[in-house]
């Protein structure tokens, strides 16, 4: 196995194009796959040290003002960045352990595309866009169009996730993330949920709700969003959101949980995340 350390993302894309290699960022998933013999790449293309692919900064994109996150930014950096919306920081904090968060990257969490990835529901509620690099240039994909199945994405064989862009407008909304697992540390989500919204004169708008681990991909609950949009916050209750939540999800029985349990817990987690958002939007604590 060759170990390649490109000095730019362009060189990384060329190496990926011309080899049977795999991209190595933090390695916290890839090293497990290699240890278990799930993959045996001809080459590893280590992009983890590329400074241009690390960090969080305000930028201008074709779509306007954004917060741009380099794909190799570690999960620990995401969890502690004051520049990022609450739900994304909370989701990052829920990933793995301190050791995993110090190595693992947000780009890795996205590209591994596990239905339970804890940064994915937050990214969906923030209307995040993914900038993909190949030897032919770049293209931008909406987060809602990126995931196609468990551990499957629209990422082509020669493509690398270079940046994640969050519109400045999304950062202005209140947001929150909740997850439930078997234990607090080092647990994989049985269900996770993220909500972001704006409140004006006691009514909600720009509401986004996304959930993970309850379908083959992390998904937006558009039916629920439609029900809540424009409504007064006082009309929202567990009973009121139950049907629209259950209509949107397709949980299964697996090693971590059962479909029935996931259904009940999803309703509660969405409600809890919504209530936290409303508390924050109403001026309790920080502005987002």
């Amino acid at each position: 196995m060759r170990y390649l350390k490109p000095s730019s993302v362009e060189e990384a894309a060329d190496l990926l194009e011309s080899s049977q290699g795999m991209i190595l960022a933090g390695g916290t998933d890839l090293c497990v796959y290699m240890a278990e013999g799930v993959v045996d790449p001809e080459a590893l293309i280590d992009i983890g040290d590329l400074d241009a692919m690390r960090g969080i900064q305000a930028a201008k994109s074709d779509h306007g003002d954004v917060i741009r996150i380099g794909a190799c930014t570690t999960i620990a950096e995401i969890a502690t960045s004051e520049a990022l919306p609450t739900c994304l920081r909370q989701g990052a904090q829920a990933v793995g352990s301190p050791q995993i968060r110090n190595l693992g990257t947000i780009g890795g969490n996205v590209c591994n595309a596990s239905p339970c990835g804890d940064t994915l529901a937050p990214l969906l509620t923030l209307d995040a866009r993914f900038v993909l690099r190949s030897s032919g240039g770049t293209r931008t994909v909406e987060s809602g169009d990126f995931f196609t199945g468990p551990k499957q994405t629209v990422l082509g064989p020669g493509e690398i996730l270079e940046f994640i862009e969050i519109p400045a407008a999304s950062c202005a909304r209140a947001s929150a993330f909740r997850m439930i697992g078997n234990r607090k540390g080092q647990a994989i989500s049985q269900v996770n949920a993220a909500v972001s919204l704006t409140i004006a004169d006691g009514r909600m708008s720009d509401i986004r709700v996304a959930v993970g681990s309850v379908a083959p991909i992390p998904l937006r609950l558009t039916k629920l969003e439609g029900v809540l949009d424009g409504q007064p916050i006082d009309d929202v209750s567990l009973a009121a959101i139950r049907e629209p939540v259950l209509e949107g999800i397709r949980p299964i029985d697996d090693v971590r949980s059962t479909a029935t349990y996931r259904q009940e817990v999803t309703v509660s987690l969405v409600f809890d995340a919504w209530a936290e958002c409303v508390g924050r939007a109403s001026g309790e604590g920080e502005c987002r």
């Binding site: 170990y3 916290t28 497990v32 540390g185 080092q186």
Partner: protein, 162 residues
Amino acid sequence: MMIRFHCNGKPVQVDVEPNARVIDLLREDLGLTGTKEGCGRGECGACTILLDGKPVNACLLLVGKIVDREIVTIEGIAGEDGSLHPIQEAFLDTGAVQCGFCTPGMVLSAKALLDENGTPAVEAVEEALSGNLCRCTGYGKIVEGVLEASRRLTEGQDRGGG
């Protein structure tokens, strides 16, 4: 391939494949067997080392990633005369060690925490140790050991600083 990095404060140069795991480099090539391999999947934390001061799993770390960087293993925290680190002393005094297999990882996770936050609350200690499993299990005593180490290190600083 010749790889250079710093280990426990000393420069190291070793001929090893860059896609080897750091846990194997430490144990097999450098004879530093204080770092334990438990699960080999990044779940148990027995192989915890510090990479530029931050705790990471040596079983998930490839040698190519430590080039020109600084790692610290459990062998690197004792004094030059072989005296134990205050965290190790506190672990002994509070009964935080049972079988000892998780202890090197626990001590290094504790060190990373105390280097950043000298007076952590119980919740911060539990969070810092959340990637280290103990199956004996002495979590209560281990948390107590970290808090005791925090007290001793803080007192030491107070004396030193006048």
